[in-house]
């Protein structure tokens, strides 16, 4: 009965459910609109890209623009660079964050608190504030304009370390104590008992790293000066600059191609991605 009165009062006073859902649907369309337009325009001929009203379903779908983008830029090379950089950073971050997170959560050593404080403090430091000295450090190691210069500085991850520490802290302590009573060394306790349980946490670190570094623009823009070291976002922005407005659909075809892996990760790893983004408060 109380449920019925609740429903009545809700129906009387708040927006009717269908109006609320319709509004949400319009907002969802506005949100996805630019992406839908990108895909559909990339399937039109360059001459038709200007058509207004925009046709969602192209009348004569064509992959001409996709051929065009392969003619204009070395898509394979850009994709290879992006893949190398992103994959190595993701794996590297999973390793460094997994190890450091475990040490902070489960090992006893001197200066644990100040060291953890140091890690946390660096989460506050924006990349742009340190980029000039980082550039100079890399230059002194002759690592500017190399992919390694993008990869290595991205290995330590303050947030990943923090996340993995929380993750290991959440695991029952008895597991490790039982293993140690059985005579397992500290390394063995980590390797056989805790590490196998850490996969979901590591997945969050990996997916976040992928999402951020696949799309990264600022560091590649500064570090990579020769075209052969460009990553996809850098290649696309310079493609637009070179082509002007004449070949919209070609540029958009490139954008669509570069989105595919990000969308795939979105579909497969949406849950770790969402958990990571919300717990992080970092979306960069």
């Amino acid at each position: 009965m109380s449920q019925a009165t609740l429903n009545m009062s809700r129906a009387r006073h708040s927006l009717a459910p269908w109006a609320r859902i319709a509004t949400l649907a319009v907002c969802a369309l506005l949100t996805l609109g630019p992406v839908i337009w990108t895909v559909s325009t990339s399937l039109r001929t360059p001459a038709e890209s200007f058509d207004l009203p925009p046709k969602i379903i192209p009348t004569n779908p064509t992959v001409e623009s996709y051929r065009g983008v392969f003619d204009q830029i070395d898509v394979w090379l850009l994709a290879l660079n992006s893949t190398l950089v992103t994959a190595l950073i993701a794996v590297g971050q999973m390793i460094t964050a997994g190890l450091a997170g475990y040490a902070f959560a489960r090992l006893d050593f001197r200066f644990k608190k100040p060291l953890f404080g140091l890690v946390l403090a660096t989460m506050m430091v924006p990349l742009q504030v340190t980029i000039v000295p980082v550039f100079l450090v890399l230059k002194s190691m002759s690592m500017t304009d190399t992919l390694l210069g993008l990869i290595i500085p991205a290995f330590p991850t303050a947030f990943g370390t923090f996340l993995m520490r929380q993750y290991f802290l959440g695991m029952p302590k008895d597991l490790g104590e039982a293993a140690m009573l059985d005579g397992a060394s500290p390394w063995r306790t980590f390797r056989s008992v805790y590490a196998p349980l850490a996969t979901p946490g590591l997945a969050i670190v990996g997916v976040l790293a992928f999402n951020y570094h696949w799309n990264e623009f600022f560091r590649p823009l500064i570090l990579e000066t020769s075209g052969q070291n460009y990553t996809l976002p850098l290649g696309l922005v310079s493609l637009q600059g070179n082509l002007g407005t004449g070949s919209i659909s070609v540029v958009l075809a490139g954008v669509v191609l570069s989105m595919i892996p990000a969308v795939a990760v979105f579909l497969v790893g949406q849950r770790p991605l969402r958990e990571g983004i919300t717990s992080a408060g970092v979306n960069r």
């Binding site: 050593f109 504030v129 980029i131 500085p153 976002p233 954008v255």
Partner: protein, 318 residues
């Protein structure tokens, strides 16, 4: 290594348990310390080389004139004086603050309304469709999507002006007028970022016990009144996080203005990070760029601290 160690480690264990404190470390303790050093080394060394040293480096560099080619010249406070007199730098700070206030306010408002709407009654599958849709722009590259948006906001053939035309609004020179360029940059940024606050709010709303809503409804609170008096105070810790992170991110905006307008027309969309980029990597004025970077860091810390101070009055923890 592990197998051979076991016999030597085992006997020491019972002794190690009671003897806490300054007693001689057991083999296990030494093993633990050794392992900790090994585990921490990549992260700590990396953080020191690529964050701690660069912060100190930024401060030191900001006191010199340096173009990387010639040897650096002592500048004292000259770089900072220049920051406060150079009109481009000053404008970039003003632009960034204006951008921050408007973008964060818009982002939070949209996210909050949508989160409340999604939280209402609807089929589960529909809720997850909406949630995915609003979250989707976050996984795209800000640079690539700005390339797309540049076309959409084109004055003559852009879809945005076409749609505005349908409701009788004359074409807006979005990216080519000093009056509207910042608005376009804000819209593009908010379009991509609101999903982040949205996710936070959805999580926050889920944490509010259902009974509180039901009790409020029984007491006669409805609709907007209920949200203002009941939901918002309960959501205030989440609001604080969303605001703080939103502000920190907004103060670092770069991709959207760089791709959409390259800071123009004039300096109307030039942001602080764009100035850092241009003065260091286009004009080779590393000292000035570092000074601007240090000031941005100070600004971010100050604004964050201010928010936490103010939050004491507005944030209610359950």
């Amino acid at each position: 290594m592990t197998n051979t160690e076991i016999p030597t480690v085992r006997p020491s264990r019972p002794a190690a348990a009671p003897a806490t404190g300054p007693a001689r470390p057991s083999a296990r303790d030494r093993g633990t310390r050794w392992l900790a050093t090994l585990f921490l080394a990549p992260t700590i060394v990396g953080i020191v080389v690529f964050t701690v040293v660069p912060i100190v480096g930024s401060i030191v560099l900001s006191l010199f004139h340096w173009n990387v080619i010639d040897s650096p010249n002592w500048a004292g406070a000259a770089n900072y004086r220049e920051v406060f007199t150079d009109s481009t730098v000053l404008v970039s700070f003003r632009n960034t603050l204006v951008f921050m206030v408007l973008a964060v306010a818009l982002q939070l408002l949209i996210a909050l309304v949508l989160a409340l709407a999604v939280n209402g009654r609807m089929p589960v599958w529909l809720r997850s469709v909406f949630r995915s849709a609003f979250f989707f722009p976050l996984v795209l590259s800000a640079a690539s999507i700005s390339v797309v948006m540049k076309y959409l906001f084109n004055q003559d053939f852009g879809v945005v002006n076409w749609a505005l035309g349908l409701i009788g609004i004359a074409p807006v020179p979005w990216l080519t007028s000093e009056n509207s360029a910042m608005a376009a940059v804000i819209l593009v940024y908010v379009w991509q970022q609101f999903g982040f606050s949205f996710l936070l709010f959805v999580g926050g709303l889920n944490n509010i016990p259902k009974e509180i809503h039901e009790a409020a409804s029984l007491d006669g609170a409805t609709g907007l009144r209920k949200h203002l008096n009941v939901t918002l105070p309960l959501l205030s810790p989440t609001l604080l996080v969303a605001t703080v992170v939103g502000v920190i991110n907004a103060l670092q905006v770069f991709e959207q203005p760089y791709v959409l307008t390259n800071g123009g027309p004039g300096d109307s969309t030039r942001t602080v990070v764009m100035v850092i980029y241009e003065s260091a990597f286009e004009q080779l004025r590393f000292g000035e760029a570092s000074a601007v970077g240090v000031l941005l860091f100070v600004l971010i810390m100050a604004v964050t601290a201010l928010q936490f101070r103010l939050s004491r009055r507005f944030v209610h923890y359950q």
